[in-house]
Symmetry: C2
């Protein structure tokens, strides 16, 4: 049989029961466990990440063996996303910048709504979506889903040994539609907003659920595991439970998808080795350099608020503000996530996109598309450029001494005052000093002016090389070139409006 | 002779030398020291704060005595401003809300420029101005003034025993013009931006300078003492020096003007008894409730950035943002300060209003006028209403226990998580939770929506009484009434735009 590199392939057998397959190539063997796909079919799924001939053996409820000729990856099939330093790459080495959106309860809506949502998503700049496996019970999320992931036991709890095939088939069909559209799906495995009991299953049930999910889905390349949305406000789970879930995902996923955990109040310990990236709910995007420095992992702003008109502060950002949050994030080398929360008070179904999907009407989307077009011209990952007083952060006493010695005496009083501040106060002060300035080595420098209405800005370019400098209006989506040949310290004229940016790209 | 209550009156004598007067009424005696007003005139100035007959005696270089019939205050003459709790009042009990602006180096410009500045200031909503006694050396502040406060000694240092009368006469004339226009003048006594040596005089010289200034100016009611602009970045002064300056002002000013001190990085210890109010340089207006709670003194946001186009972040706020800073401040019961920093790159004189004065072109001024009109309908001081998670701040363990016991179990997890945060992280989290909600007892509730684009907002009004509720567009300056008779919890429809506010005033 044949398959394509970086695409899921499966072996299907009639019957029931457990089975394990081994896929072998060049002396390496990857064990993969099968799953019950329906009452009378058992499957095992594999993600070949190299082209060439694999052999396989299946043991357990079925015995089988054979060969697979894996053809080279087709265009656009880059393999699963990996964390590499502070950025993301596909398995084939292609840089991955995500432009996310959010439809938490998408999968638990009527078919017609999901169709409408997918049609909408096809016409956006997004390439990542956050959505939940379990249904969501929350404001504007009251409708009862048609299917649940498992059958119930007689006592009303979920029997995680009996998957509801209709649920999983339908879920998978929709996932595959998203994959075909080029979306990475950041699958939210648990969440607190629940009236059905999925948030308070036993740890054993949690792992049995994950076991089925991994066996069934892990061979799809474009999936990420988000352990939870707001893990920290699920009183039924302890930190030990979360560590167990994390370890289970890391050791039972043969294809090593990204693992993150999203918080409400208490940031997840992202330094944990199995946690691949830093998933954050925050509007404090000026703290990205701090988090990137602390964790040295990719920063994913998975929730920074939504463009909309809800009564909740998180659901009533202007398009300008959400656009600004994308620029703040990306100028510092992170990835940001969109969501839309317009509530039509006349709509009895309370269809709010961030929860149920439907159609989009916001004005930030076009600006995210414009940002994406610009970012795609930056040839590699962006990291923050720390400037001014923020250079005082995270230094050893020796480093500070050297640094202060290099500062003219009349300027040093500022630094000394900052160092003398009470630490918590100092952090809050320095939070206000962050500039949205990032660079891709010496290849590109990106400065986002944010709300500031500068009439000019002095950009420090490397003295060597020549740069093309453009002045970007991130709201009006224009990007006239100011200079085709700039280098060193240059004073770039700006129009005195908010939401401007400057991009300098090295000429070759 | 006669005088008016709450207006400066003076006794002038030919000659030179020190003198002290005592002004007596109803058995109380106020000693006031005189000053050399010119080479051949010595004066003593008094601020009668009661109507009726005073007697006085003068001793020293001159001996004199007499009576003064003090007529009741004329309209608009309310006496000096006092701090009362967390708000300001004039001596006659009238509530004082300040709408400040900034022309630091106004007094050190050519006469024609000062004339132009005063003409400009007359057509604004402002009633307070911050300006420096000493000239300013800083970006866009390079011009040499015509006069200095003192003559120089042979070694080049300032001889504070020899005032330059031309300087002081001119300064005083301009002050009086400001007073006549209804301005409170927040006089900045020291500042670091200096090439002449005024920032590094000896402590003795500092006090001799203040002595002259107090003797000469203290009888003017509409003056405040701002010990410094950015006191903390003046390396020549120690904290002990500042405490000495503070004590000198407090004990040598017979009329007890307000005393504040303005910082750059390290907030002044505003809890000090002689410090009458909290003068702040900050854009973190969400921290006003914290500071008001800590100091229980009036909060004056004396520097929150300026509307303009400078390259410096503090000098490139949009009109929208500066307007928002006024609303954030005033909805929480503080007073805010405007400044304008438009630089015309073609202007060889670099006339930037915040420094030199001239004309204003910004768009925030009209909005400050609109805000002032609204605030004047609120019959008393506003204090912050603490809501949501911010209620966790500043509680004792016992108070917290009681509070948590009153929260439904499913909500308590949020509070517990917040309490479990590392303290510095918790403060930064709670900073993001502040609402711009204030009240004047049960008389008025003011909610500023800030950047949020709410489609509606649930306002909690007292159940007793009836309120007139208006929906204010703070940018477009409209304030349609939504209800003439609202009470209890009401859902106010909002247009989904930023910069809205809701004001509810009790009907009588």
């Amino acid at each position: 049989m044949s398959a394509y590199q970086n695409e899921m392939m499966e072996l299907a057998y009639p019957g029931t029961g457990d089975l394990t397959a081994h896929f072998m190539k060049d002396g390496r063997s990857i064990p993969v466990r099968g799953f019950q796909a329906s009452e009378d079919t058992v499957k095992v799924r594999f993600l070949p990440m190299e082209a060439g001939r694999y052999t396989y053996t299946v043991r357990g409820a079925v015995s089988d063996s054979g060969t697979i000729d894996v053809l080279p990856a087709r265009a656009g099939h880059h393999g699963p996303v990996r964390a590499v330093g502070t950025h993301l790459e596909y398995a084939d080495g292609t840089l991955c910048r995500t432009y996310g959106t959010t439809v938490y309860a998408m999968m638990h809506q009527p078919d017609s709504r999901i169709d409408e949502t997918l049609e909408t998503l096809q016409r956006t700049p997004f390439n990542k979506i956050r959505l939940c496996v379990f249904p969501k019970h929350f404001i504007y999320n009251e409708n009862e889903p048609a299917y649940f992931a498992f059958e119930r036991r007689e006592d009303g709890t979920w029997d995680t040994s009996r998957p509801c095939y209709a649920f999983w088939d339908r879920f998978e069909e929709r996932l595959c539609q998203l994959f075909a559209m080029g979306y990475q799906v950041d699958l939210i495995l648990f969440h607190p907003y629940d009236r059905w009991g999925f948030s308070s299953m036993s740890h054993e049930d949690d792992l049995r659920y994950l076991d089925y999910l991994l066996r069934r889905f892990a061979a799809y390349p474009a999936l990420w595991w988000s352990m939870a949305n707001e893990y920290d406000v699920m009183p039924a789970k302890t930190m030990e439970d979360w560590y167990g879930i994390e370890a289970f995902l890391a050791t039972n996923d043969p294809f090593h998808h990204l693992i993150g955990n999203h918080h409400c109040i208490s940031i997840w310990p992202h330094e944990r080795p199995y946690t691949t990236h830093v998933s954050l709910q925050t509007g404090a995007l000026n703290r990205i350099p701090e988090w990137m420095g602390k964790y040295r992992k990719p920063i994913l702003i998975d929730e920074c608020g939504y463009e909309g008109n809800l009564e909740q502060p998180w659901g009533s950002l202007s398009a300008e503000e959400l656009t600004a949050r994308f620029w703040r994030t990306m100028s510092l080398g992170g990835c940001c996530t969109h969501g839309e929360t317009f509530l039509d008070p006349e709509d009895p179904d309370e269809v709010v996109f961030w929860a149920k999907g439907g159609t989009l009407r916001g004005e930030s989307i076009a600006r995210v598309a414009f940002l994406r077009e610009i970012m795609e011209e930056i040839p590699g990952p962006v990291e923050p450029v720390i400037t001014g007083f923020c250079l005082l952060r995270g230094k050893t006493p020796e480093e500070l001494e050297t640094m202060l010695a290099g500062i003219p005496a009349e300027q040093r009083v500022y630094h000394e005052r900052i160092l003398a501040m009470e630490p918590a106060e100092r952090e809050r002060f320095l939070d206000g000093q962050v500039q949205y300035l990032g660079c891709c080595g010496a290849e590109a420098i990106l400065f986002y002016c944010d709300l500031q209405t500068y009439g000019r800005f002095t950009l420090e370019l490397p003295a060597e090389g020549s740069y093309t400098v453009e002045v970007i209006d991130t709201w009006n989506m224009t990007r006239p070139i100011w200079s085709y040949d700039a280098s060193g310290s240059v004073v770039v004229p700006l129009p005195g409006r908010p939401y401007m940016a400057i991009l300098a790209r090295k000429n070759h």
